[in-house]
């Protein structure tokens, strides 16, 4: 089946899968958003415990999606994996540290004799929520703004004078931290941070049955939705007006004015997905704030997925370099020059057929576990609580 596809079709198929995983990850960042709201929406220990248990039952999904996102990138576009992770070293290390802290914090937080105390683990959760979202957003933004690196496969043959035979090299000693100096990167990082908090609030409204917390979410919604809109719209404006990294039939990378605007206009389906996504995100917020609807998470969640999914397609499709180099344009990574071989993409494509099965059992379990809203009474009854 997949064997009959061209290598380009397979590369596009895998870029779609990467985009799906990226979009799912940003949606699931509602867990991270919730972790930054523990002291804003909860005013006492019991309320905090409810919030921790609300998000604690979903943290594995975000974590697993992040790991799968990394694994899928490694398998399908290994040159990105080696260039970005080995180059933007500090950004990825900080993200990883944030996730290490998260993984133990839920389980250890309320356990007796936990060495660091409950509050330390709550601070860890906050660090994960803030750093995880901002840095991931900023890292993804470099898909559009570029980074200072070079790639030369011939470096592998360097044998004289003890030279390092490294193929991908980061051409600044800051190893990824320099991305923080770019306004557009910062805007997307902060937009993702506030979006995660908005989604967390909407998730609480649907899944928690504690009136005082719900009341506080109404104010919290607007104080997070407004900065989200400001940062997202700034990012979007800069994106649509900037020159983009295009490549021609000879695989030569060049700067094209308004490239990302052109991508949206030249791929109408992506434009429709993007606009639908933005509208749905806003719809969820508006319905929750003005109509006191408790199901805003569905519209905003689906909207988030569609928006991020279409942004990934804008970054990688239509002859666009998805990981551009501002140091050496011709080192820029495209879905065509950074991918695995056809054989590996075909083999992996068969594995991807498991994804619908995975989605089915996740939906089944999610529905079962979220059938009733979480209350203090339920936490008291549970033998396992965070």
């Amino acid at each position: 089946m997949f064997e009959n596809l061209s290598i380009l079709a397979l590369q596009q198929y895998w870029w779609v899968i990467i985009s799906i995983l990226g979009a799912a990850l940003v949606f699931l960042f509602f867990v991270q958003g919730g972790q930054t709201l523990l002291y804003t929406l909860a005013k006492n220990e019991d309320e905090r415990t409810i919030l921790v248990n609300t998000f604690g039952r979903k943290w594995e999904y975000t974590f697993t999606t992040l790991v799968t996102f990394g694994g899928a990138f490694f398998a399908s576009f290994p040159l990105f994996y080696s260039t970005s992770f080995g180059g933007a070293f500090w950004v990825w290390i900080l993200i990883l540290f944030a996730f290490v802290l998260q993984a133990v914090s839920y389980e250890f937080r309320s356990k007796p004799n936990n060495f660091l105390g409950k509050k330390s683990f709550e601070v860890f959760l906050f660090i994960n929520g803030a750093l995880g979202t901002i840095l991931t957003g900023a890292a993804v933004s470099t898909f559009f703004t570029g980074s200072l690196f070079s790639v030369n496969q011939s470096n592998l043959t360097l044998l004289t004078g003890n030279q390092m035979p490294t193929i991908s090299r980061w051409e600044t000693p800051f190893h990824g931290l320099e991305a923080a100096l770019n306004v557009q990167n910062l805007c997307l990082g902060l937009a993702v941070f506030f979006l995660a908090r908005v989604l967390a609030i909407l998730y609480i409204q649907l899944n928690v049955d504690e009136e005082k917390i719900i009341q506080r979410t109404r104010k919290g919604l607007i104080t997070n939705a407004l900065p989200f809109l400001v940062f997202f719209l700034t990012f979007l404006t800069l994106l649509l007006l900037k020159d983009g990294f295009a490549y021609n039939a000879q695989k030569q990378v060049f700067m094209e004015p308004y490239k990302y605007l052109h991508n949206l206009l030249e791929m109408p389906l992506v434009l429709i997905l993007f606009l639908s996504g933005v509208v749905l995100v806003l719809l969820g917020i508006i319905r929750s704030y003005f109509l006191q609807s408790k199901s805003g998470i569905w519209a905003s969640g689906i909207g988030t997925f569609l928006t991020v999914f279409s942004l990934f397609l804008v970054a990688g499709f239509n002859h666009t370099s998805f990981y551009p180099s501002t140091f050496d344009l011709q080192s820029s990574l495209t879905i065509e020059n950074a991918s695995s071989s056809k054989y590996t993409l075909v083999a992996m494509s068969y594995v991807s057929l498991f994804v619908p099965v995975v989605l089915l059992y996740i939906i089944f379990v999610w529905r079962k576990m979220n059938a009733k809203k979480l209350t203090q009474a339920e936490i008291n009854q549970e033998s396992h609580a965070y």
């Binding site: 790991v67 990394g70 992770f85 035979p165 193929i167 083999a347 033998s383």
Partner: protein, 508 residues
């Protein structure tokens, strides 16, 4: 930083060793105890006896604490391949990335989805659905081990791939050969069963403490019976796969076998050193390298080659060569490796200049010598020798404890079946002491596997010095210290929580 920095390589290796060893402190318990829990829960569902539910929940609580920190330490490893070993990620990403992605899609989601049901689903789903979730968590955890161990097995013995000079990387040509390579299959079975044995000893040790304290006696006795049956079967299979591992090492990584045995000069009908003390320092590599040793005659030849009189090459045969037994000197391999690398450089230049004739002739030289590609990066023949004392002693610790565990589990099983456990207080104390021994054996196994194959990241194809990322050593030094602090802190927290949960017992 354009030149090879030895401290960068050493810090990068140290960091990977640190994070991998921390991760492996938690994974084996997860792999094994989840099956023990699943068996206990199955008995609960079958019998409806609430005591079994209580037992299941108690061990599940310990599993949950251990699971979380295992996950925390695991994420680093996946991304370290990129952050610290970027050249490796490109050179073999086409093959190595696939198992990692499959691990995420097929195993991690299964594990993370159903572990939530296992913890929080007691009042939300039916008994049978909960039981299914527990079994699926067990399968998911073990499936994730499968894929990463396939990847590791492939690094020990690369198969199912071909080097592509245009992309300067190895590309997969046979997925099934990668998945079912004898080393990968054996490594998977040996590693997961070592986890089952460790978990069984953990359950027995904790239960022994309850019996010594004369509390939660029913839980302790029932747990010991389940764990000793599960552990005994696993430990016998572990010995069987251990033999398979040694055989594979002899075929594919003879230098590792020589280091495991401290064998400097090769011999026909070589004996297996049962107990031995190596001389210190460089004398470990000299011909007369033992202070004393007790050998089992001809056993090494039998284990490694299935023939009593087979020749087992030693360190000197593998470095200096042995014409009689057809072993090429390491210097010739280095020269051939350099030929291969230079041919690749020539090929790439010729392709750029559209010089087809030169490209073809360079490609022929490359293909002829590619088998030794990684040797081309090495400067001297001694660099192919791993740390002999570490490999030698780690191997003995692992094997010695492995046989001890078989006896230990057998004695516990018989004592439990005869209902004499409470009277055998020394045995119960041994049960507690054996918990750290299981961890020591488990870590020793990885030291043999990984330290014993130095300097290779990928056997014969890529040494560590050619695989590292282009970063400065101070960055890696900082992250090493950070990981050491964070992981040690979390380990202390984990142990304190575990001890308290055990002290509180199932009724708390």
């Amino acid at each position: 930083m354009e030149f090879i920095d030895l401290s960068l390589i050493n810090w990068s290796r140290a960091q990977f060793a640190l994070t991998a060893m921390y991760h492996w402190l938690f994974v084996p318990l997860t792999l094994g105890i989840v099956f023990i829990i699943a068996i206990m829960e199955t008995i609960y569902v079958k019998t409806g006896n609430e005591e079994w539910k209580k037992i299941t929940k108690f061990w599940a609580k310990l599993f949950g604490i251990n699971f979380a920190i295992g996950v925390a330490t695991g994420i680093i490893l996946e991304f370290e391949f990129g952050t610290n070993w970027s050249n490796y990620s490109w050179f073999v990403g086409d093959i190595f990335g696939a198992p990692l992605a499959i691990e995420g899609i097929m195993a991690f989601f299964l594990e993370s989805t159903f572990v939530a049901v296992m913890f929080f689903g007691w009042n939300k789903v039916s008994k049978k659905t909960h039981l299914l979730a527990t079994w699926l968590t067990a399968v998911g955890a073990n499936l994730s081990a499968l894929w990463i161990l396939v990847a590791n097995g492939w690094m020990q013995s690369p198969v199912g791939m071909q080097f592509n000079p245009d992309t300067a990387r190895n590309e997969m040509i046979n997925f099934w050969e990668v998945l079912f390579s004898p080393i990968a299959v054996n490594k998977f079975l040996h590693t997961i069963t070592s986890g089952y044995v460790l978990a069984s000893i953990f359950v027995i040790g904790v239960s022994s403490w309850f019996l010594l304290k004369k509390r939660d006696v029913l839980l302790a006795k029932k747990s010991i019976i389940i764990a000793s049956i599960f552990g005994l079967g696993s430990s016998i299979f572990l010995a069987y796969t251990g033999d398979g591992s040694a055989y594979q090492v002899a075929q594919k990584q003879p230098m590792k076998l020589a280091a495991m045995e401290g064998l400097i000069e090769g011999r026909t009908g070589a004996g297996l050193v049962a107990i031995g003390l190596l001389k210190g320092g460089n004398d470990a590599k000299s011909r007369d390298n033992f202070v004393f040793k007790i050998e089992l005659p001809k056993m090494l030849s039998i284990l490694g080659y299935r023939k009593a009189d087979a020749f087992v090459p030693g360190v000197e045969d593998l470095t200096k060569g042995n014409q009689e037994h057809g072993i090429m000197p390491a210097q010739e391999k280095i020269d051939r490796g350099r030929l291969a690398i230079n041919a690749l450089a020539e090929y790439r230049k010729a392709k750029q200049n559209n010089n087809k004739a030169l490209a073809d002739s360079s490609l022929a030289v490359l293909n002829q010598n590619f088998k030794y590609f990684g040797y081309g990066y090495l400067n001297d023949i001694d660099s192919i020798i791993p740390n002999i004392p570490m490999t030698f002693y780690s191997f003995r610790i692992m094997v010695g404890l492995g046989f001890y565990f078989i006896a230990f589990l057998l004695v516990f099983l018989f004592s439990a079946l005869q209902d004499k456990l409470e009277r055998r207080r020394i045995l119960l104390k041994l049960g507690i002491i054996s918990i750290p021994l299981a961890y020591i054996a488990s870590q020793s196994g990885w030291i043999v596997a990984e330290l014993g194959r130095q300097p290779w990241v990928i056997q014969d194809l890529l040494p560590t010095m050619a695989a590292v990322s282009h970063i400065d050593s101070s960055s890696v030094m900082i992250t090493f210290v950070l990981f050491a602090i964070v992981f040690t802190t979390l380990l202390i927290a984990e142990l304190k929580i575990m001890f308290r949960q055990i002290k509180n017992g199932p009724s708390h």
